[in-house]
């Protein structure tokens, strides 16, 4: 892990996974890699959190999974969003936007440094 990596704020991993999968089915490693690369390695997804999270989301009905093969011919478990997962992503995103706006307003307020 690089020094510039950020700790994921609690509760954000789920919405990151859902967002990642909204672009199409991906395996667990793919999810991890996509987040890492998209954030320029700012977010390092801990595997110890990723795999339990994937199963938790699956239990809640947001994801479905099946085994398949990668482009390089390796076997991997691919996850994709369900309709419920898409709805949950919408909820997560709106929640997150409000959260960021509120944070920004507080942190951007004058005399607050």
């Amino acid at each position: 892990m690089t020094d510039s990596s950020l700790d994921l704020i609690k509760g954000t991993l789920d919405v990151l996974i859902l967002k990642t999968l909204s672009h199409g089915p991906r395996h667990g490693y793919g999810v991890s890699r996509w987040i890492r690369e998209t954030t320029d390695e700012a977010f390092q997804v801990d595997e110890g959190a990723l795999y339990p999270a994937l199963r938790r989301l699956q239990k809640r009905g947001y994801l479905d999974a099946e085994w398949g093969t990668t482009e390089t011919g390796r076997e991997a478990k691919f996850y994709h969003l369900t309709a419920e997962g898409e709805a949950e992503l919408e909820r997560g995103l709106s929640h997150w936007h409000r959260y960021v706006q509120a944070m920004g307003r507080v942190l951007g307020a004058p005399g607050a440094t």
């Binding site: 395996h27 795999y51 938790r56 390089t72 991997a76 478990k77």
Partner: protein
């Protein structure tokens, strides 16, 4: 729940992850070996990840399975409903069968629950005891007043919280709109300590109310307060005055109608106010007690036994026959319901038999359906339905059927309960508390599910098995052999069960007929009777009673349409007071006999034959020498082979003429036929009749008057009898009863048992018939082609039919044999001494067994001949082309 597949899945995924990471690193130019190590390092604690992920995965798996199961159960149910509504004929017959079987069990169990299982409706009912004195013969008898006083002194305060004597009374109650007879009790002072009832108004009695000479007070029931005293609120009755048996009582308290002890009592007064016998052998009282929480029944019994031994030390040796030599202590509930326990359990057993017949019936029908549905099962199996899944589907259908049937059964049970209550009133205690309540319905649900498994499991196993094989290609003949054998077993079982029930109820029918066939010793058909108790204040002396009856009988004889009129101190088929008599003027010579006070007209009205000598007549006035009429058996017992006329007797319990010194003797002037005073099942006992004008002591407590109609129709004299009594004394409550009704009521418990067991047997017979019909119909349907071939080849239709019949009757005959064996074993329960359900018929009665075997055989033959006949009627060419 351990799930290896979840762990494996996670492990596979981690491997994939590591491989992909390594691949990426190599892409970026890492050395493959180092890339692998780096991937492992980056991954971190593999174990922890695997554990956490597996846990989540398992949770997920469980939730998924649960919801999938609910979904399939729901699917099974919907499918089941479709499949049942798809064959409404089958569903209707099956539901009716189940409703009858489960309904019978629900009804009987509700009676067993309400009568036997539910505790008495009093506080701490387990503390309540019933106390009896024990005779030298080991039987129980009522308690002497003075003995109860000594028992109380020895135990209350230590083993017992309270001990009370009580007697049931049925006095004329005056104070309401009209005089009425209302049952009540006279109770000793601990009674309300034994039953600590909170009155609705006023109070129960206090110790000072029970002192000799105290002002008479009365506790009454809510219904008496309302009906007689017109009390809208219970408190309105308190302070009012009621006259009971000619004596004025002030009402001090009102208790709720739920308090029903002794059964039917609606008023309670103090026993101590009357004069009680000092004799230790004068057994007139019933005794109840409440134990201290620490005491045991055995401890109480031991203690009282010891007390009783001391008490009877001074009883003269020749009176020991009448002394209590010990004390029996029973739980009160046992005393109340003990007698009906075995009969009720027998009925419950019989209900279970009916249900078993229903189960075998349904099992065989489902098996037949299973064959029809073999194709459907095979398709489902071929499409990936596992065997377990098919079994579950079939069992779901059975449970569904059973639960719906149980719902209808509860309805039937509710209706049956109404009949049972009416039928059992007076014969079975506590029936009014019987209801289809929570415990009963829980029982019904358990029975329904158990029933579903009982009849559904076998067909489900067979049905799903058939699906494996070649059912898709042919019509499933491969499994027919085994199915045939299963059917044979089911038919045999059904026949055997039905035969046991039929034999049991057949024996009861024979007993019932035998009891009714007994000669009661009188002609009931044309007689109306009434019980009359005269007020002791307005009729204080013997002579007052004599005057009253003289007038009534004289006017009664003059009534048009009356063939005979007379009185007896005790009505036949009720009770017979008995006691010691001295014989032949020799005070040392004793006999023991029933003791009845009578008028001559009673023998004429009841057609009791005069066998020798004469009846009482006008010569036998109060001042004339006393005369007696004796029963044939009395004469034969005490003067065998001698002429009884002119012999002398005296006595019969507490008779002042016997206690006089010297005793007043009565001379035998006539001999009459035997009369059964207790019930039809007990043969008449030697009986002495005294004339009411000479020894009226007994009729002070009441007399029964009998009026014989000249027309033969007892109702024709009911009106005249009522007028006669009311004109003699307007304060007499008159309750008339035809004598035939008395005879009927005396066999009430028998009728109750017979009705239920008989219904069950009839049900079993019908179900067995339906079952056999179903099986044979199916087998005929399956063999149509074979039968067609036989007929086409010139076989005689009759021989083809007999082929079918033989096939059906072989297992039926086996069932008959098994049933006879089973019945021989089980009917011993009926013959058990303590139940006395069989009367003058052996549990092996050949006529009964022959009769029911023939009946079942007939039903079996008809049930199999009808489908066989139908099968052979069809044109062979058509049946052959059918396939």
């Amino acid at each position: 729940m351990r799930d290896p597949s979840a762990a494996e899945d996670v492990e596979r995924e981690i491997q994939a992850h590591l491989a992909l990471r390594t691949e990426e690193l190599v892409e970026r130019g890492w050395d493959p070996g180092e890339a692998r190590a780096e991937a492992l390092r980056l991954f971190g604690d593999r174990e922890a990840v695997a554990r956490a992920a597996t846990q989540e995965a398992r949770r997920h798996e469980r939730a998924r399975r649960r919801s999938k199961m609910m979904e399939t159960v729901w699917q099974d149910i919907r499918y089941g409903i479709r499949s049942l509504t798809g064959s409404p004929g089958f569903a209707a017959v099956a539901l009716l069968t189940l409703a009858l079987g489960i309904g019978a069990n629900t009804a009987i169990f509700s009676v067993v629950d309400g009568v036997l299982l539910e505790p008495l409706p009093y506080d701490d009912p387990q503390e309540l005891l019933w106390l009896d004195e024990e005779t030298v013969r080991g039987t129980g008898m009522a308690v002497a007043w003075v003995n109860h006083l000594d028992w109380r002194e020895a135990t209350v305060g230590s083993e017992l919280k309270g001990l009370a004597a009580f007697g049931v009374r049925n006095p004329t109650v005056v104070g309401g709109p009209e005089p009425v007879q209302i049952a009540g009790a006279t109770v000793s002072q601990d009674f309300w300590r034994v039953f600590p009832v909170a009155p609705l108004a006023g109070r129960t009695t206090l110790p000072e109310d029970h002192l000799r000479g105290a002002a008479p007070v009365l506790v009454v029931s809510r219904s008496l307060a309302r009906d007689v005293l017109g009390a809208v609120q219970p408190a309105d009755a308190v302070g009012q005055t009621l006259e009971l048996g000619g004596r004025a009582f002030q009402v001090v308290g009102v208790v709720a109608d739920d308090f029903d002890f002794p059964s039917g009592a609606r008023h309670w007064g103090a026993a101590e106010l009357g004069t009680q016998s000092e004799s230790r052998t004068s057994h007139n009282w019933a005794v109840v007690a409440r134990m201290a929480p620490t005491a045991t029944r055995a401890g109480v019994e031991e203690r009282l036994d010891a007390v009783q031994q001391r008490l009877i030390a001074d009883v003269p040796a020749d009176a020991m026959d009448y002394a209590g030599v010990g004390v029996n202590v029973l739980p009160l509930q046992e005393e109340i319901v003990g007698e009906v326990r075995t009969p009720l359990l027998i009925l419950l057993g019989a209900a279970v038999f009916v249900l078993l017949v229903a189960c075998t019936n349904l099992a065989s029908t489902l098996l037949a359906r299973g064959t029809v549905r073999a194709r459907e099962m095979a398709v489902r199996s071929a499409l990936g339905g596992s065997r377990g899944r098919l079994i579950r589907q079939l069992l779901t259908e059975s449970v569904l059927l059973s639960l719906v049937g149980a719902g209808a059964g509860v309805g039937l049970a509710a209706a049956a309960l109404g009949i049972l209550r009416r039928l059992g009133a007076g014969a079975v205690p506590r029936l009014e508390g019987v209801a289809l309540d929570g415990p009963v319905l829980a029982f019904t649900v358990v029975v329904a599910v158990g029933t579903a498994l009982a009849f559904g499991l076998l067909p489900a196993l067979r049905g799903s098995e058939g699906a494996q094989a070649d059912a898709l290609r042919t019509d499933g003949r491969g499994t027919v052999g085994r199915r045939r054998a299963t059917w044979d077993v089911l038919v045999a079982a059904e026949v055997a069960l039905a035969l046991v029930l039929l034999a049991g109820s057949g024996l009861l029918v024979r007993s019932f007929v035998a009891v009714l066939d007994e000669d009661p010793g009188f002609q009931a058909a044309d007689v109306t009777t009434a019980r009359v108790s005269l007020s002791s204040t307005r009729y204080p002396e013997d002579a007052d009673h004599v005057r009253f009856w003289d007038a009534v009988l004289e006017r009664g004889e003059a009534l048009p349409g009356v063939a005979g009129v007379g009185i007896l101190s005790n009505r036949p088929l009720s009770n017979l007071p008995n006691g010691r008599l001295a014989l032949d003027g020799d005070p040392e010579k004793y006999g023991d006999a029933g003791y009845i006070v009578a008028s001559a007209g009673a023998f004429e009205a009841l057609d009791v034959p005069l066998l020798q000598g004469r009846l009482f007549d006008e010569r036998d006035g109060p001042d004339a020498p006393h005369v007696v009429v004796v029963s044939r058996s009395f004469a034969d017992t005490y003067w065998p082979g001698e002429d009884p006329l002119g012999r002398r007797v005296t006595g019969g319990g507490m008779d002042r003429f016997w206690n006089a010194d010297p005793p007043v003797w009565g001379t035998v002037v006539g001999v009459v036929g035997e009369v059964r005073y207790r019930d039809l099942e007990r043969s008449a006992e030697p009986t002495v009749y005294w004339h009411y004008r000479q020894r009226p002591g007994r009729i002070q407590f009441g007399a029964s008057v009998f009026l014989e109609a000249g027309s033969g129709d007892p109702s024709s004299v009911a009106g005249p009898l009522r007028t006669l009594l009311q004109e003699a004394d307007p304060e007499i409550p008159v309750q008339l009863q035809p004598m035939s009704e008395v005879v009927r009521a005396s066999v009430g418990e028998r009728r109750f048992m017979l009705f239920i067991l008989g219904s069950f047997a009839a049900l079993a017979l019908v179900l067995a018939g339906v079952g056999i019909y179903g099986v044979v119909s199916y087998s005929v349907a399956r063999r149509t082609r074979e039968m067609g071939v036989r007929l086409a080849l010139g076989a005689d239709p009759e021989s083809v039919r007999s082929l079918v019949l033989r096939g059906a009757l072989r297992p039926g005959a086996l069932g008959l044999v098994l049933g006879v064996v089973g019945a021989l074993v089980l009917t011993r329960v009926l013959a058990g001494l303590e139940t006395g359900l069989l009367y003058r018929v052996a549990p092996t009665d050949p006529l009964t067994y022959g009769g029911v075997t023939v009946a079942l055989l007939l039903v079996g033959v008809v049930a199999s001949w009808v489908p066989a006949y139908r099968g052979t009627r069809v044109d062979p060419m058509i049946t052959m082309r059918a396939e």
